[in-house]
């Protein structure tokens, strides 16, 4: 502490950095806060219930978003990008595809939203008399559905990565896939359709999206002749589509 001005300068810079990050997180939340305030005070003309809980909760959301975005650039993006770079440097298509499948499967199998949907689906199907209404058969149905979705997300990431490696245009896969979705919707049992469309969204959790995006963009950047924008994106789009097809197929098979 021989030179206090240096110390102050350093802490000034840290504070300024924190302030900027906090301000940018605040800008992200400003729309939602203004909409809620406007409707509560002007349209519904009511005071806020549990006012201090709301203020405290908003501060948590603000800090959480700030930390998340900071960690994104420090942790999740480099992890995905480095893995893509190291895998292409190793040059083994086999390991790249194994990794892609494992990534899709492992992020989906434990997803809380998927567990909730499968349980609900088992209950609905048992009530409709499609499967036996006993605990054992409901549980095995729910587990089967979870495995089916996790497997299909694994396949989806595998197809998506293969597409980046080969340079196939994405819209062939998407248009072909959605035609399959429409055909399956026409022949699959009615009870499974809503569930199938819902499972499409479960692969896009907040942790998975940054990792998968960084992986795709990383792969497209480290392979010659691929464009990071045109070829690097699209993994999420395929991961939303494929589970719908597989779950409807599962419905056809099980009933």
């Amino acid at each position: 502490m021989r030179d206090p001005s240096k110390y102050f300068k350093k802490s000034y810079h840290i504070l300024k950095y924190l302030f900027l990050k906090l301000r940018s997180a605040f800008m992200d939340l400003l729309p939602i806060l203004s909409v809620v305030t406007f409707f509560q005070l002007v349209i519904l003309r009511q005071p806020f219930p549990h006012f201090e809980e709301i203020i405290f909760g908003s501060i948590m959301v603000l800090l959480g978003l700030m930390l998340f975005i900071e960690g994104l650039e420090m942790g999740l993006f480099p992890i995905g990008g480095n893995m893509a770079f190291a895998l292409t440097k190793k040059g083994s298509v086999f390991w790249i595809l194994i990794f892609s499948f494992a990534l899709g499967f492992s992020t989906t199998i434990a997803e809380p939203a998927l567990i909730a949907i499968s349980k609900e689906a088992a209950r609905v199907s048992a009530e409709a008399g499609l499967i036996e209404n006993a605990e054992g058969s409901r549980d095995s149905y729910a587990l089967g559905l979870r495995l089916c979705v996790a497997f299909s997300v694994g396949i989806a990431i595998l197809i998506g990565v293969l597409r980046i490696l080969k340079g196939w245009p994405l819209y062939y896969i998407l248009i072909g896939g959605y035609i399959l979705v429409v055909i399956m919707t026409m022949i699959a049992p009615k009870e499974i359709i809503g569930i199938a469309y819902d499972t499409g969204g479960v692969a896009t959790s907040t942790i998975t999206v940054p990792l998968v995006t960084a992986l795709g963009v990383g792969l497209a950047s480290s392979i010659k002749g691929r464009n990071p924008l045109t070829d690097g994106f699209g993994l999420i789009a395929i991961a939303v589509m494929v589970p719908m097809i597989f779950v409807m197929a599962y419905g056809l098979f099980i009933y």
Partner: protein, 260 residues
């Protein structure tokens, strides 16, 4: 207020459990397949810890403050007593106009705060070399979700069948896909997928179920769903349309050059 630390700990552990399989997979590949250590390992681990703490705080704040408030507001706005004082004919679908405005605004604002969309927008900005701006993409996607929710709530009130909207929507998206700049297609479809993440889904589901239980003749089990399917379809349209408008502008400005 008293059990906030306990709730945070619970959410932190849940988030940790969600992240664990991914971390194990990456660690396995780094050590056994690639046989190398991640560069800047300490910084990366610190980043992952920040992500987990950040997400746990974010989710807790939402669950404690914004979700309950959003639910109450959705129910109040669709209550018969509120609807009938605002419009001369309370049985008309137009009487619910505040519900549509609320749906659109809440769709827009929650999408702006969606962490996975922020992640995709940052990556799109980097991958495009700065051509795609982070806020530009987020606003275009948010407009898509806003349109989706306005149409979705109108559908619930009028009781028109969901599949008509979905089939018609997908036809528009397919036609757009054929005619839009090829560079943007992958990003547009990805943006559709990320809108159905942490912030938007719980609020939107509450709005759909609340509305279909107050509108006479609607069944929440059948009519309450569909808003989320809408919310992932319409952003694809708006992002493709945005790219088409930009391309059109460019060709009008410089007829001799083919940009984008």
């Amino acid at each position: 207020m008293a059990n906030w630390p306990l709730d945070f700990l619970k959410l932190f552990l849940v988030t940790l459990r969600d992240v664990a399989p991914v971390v194990l997979l990456f660690a396995f590949f780094q050590f056994f397949v690639l046989k190398q250590v991640v560069p800047n390992l300490k910084k990366v681990i610190f980043g992952v810890v920040l992500v987990i703490i950040g997400l746990a705080l974010f989710l807790m704040g939402l669950e404690k403050a914004l979700f309950p408030l959003g639910n109450i507001m959705a129910i109040q706005l669709s209550e018969a007593s509120f609807i009938s004082k605002g419009y001369h004919d309370p049985s008309s679908w137009l009487a619910y106009y505040w519900v549509y405005i609320f749906a659109g605004m809440i769709g827009f604002s929650t999408t702006i705060a969606e962490p996975s969309l922020i992640a995709v927008a940052i990556k799109a900005n980097q991958a495009s070399g700065g051509t795609i701006s982070i806020w530009g993409l987020r606003i275009v996607v948010a407009i898509g979700v806003a349109i989706a929710l306005v149409l979705g709530t109108i559908r619930i009130v009028t009781g028109t069948p969901l599949y008509l909207y979905i089939i018609f929507g997908y036809i528009i998206v397919m036609v757009q896909t054929l005619f839009s700049p090829k560079k943007i297609i992958a990003l547009a479809y990805d943006s559709g997928g990320v809108t159905t993440s942490t912030v938007t889904v719980p609020l939107v589901a509450a709005l759909g179920i609340g509305l279909s239980s107050t509108v006479p003749g609607r069944n929440p089990a059948i009519d309450g769903f569909g808003l989320i399917a809408f919310a992932s379809l319409f952003p694809i349209m708006t992002v493709l349309a945005y790219a088409q408008i930009l391309e059109l502008k460019n060709t009008l400005k410089k007829p001799s050059k083919n940009e984008i």
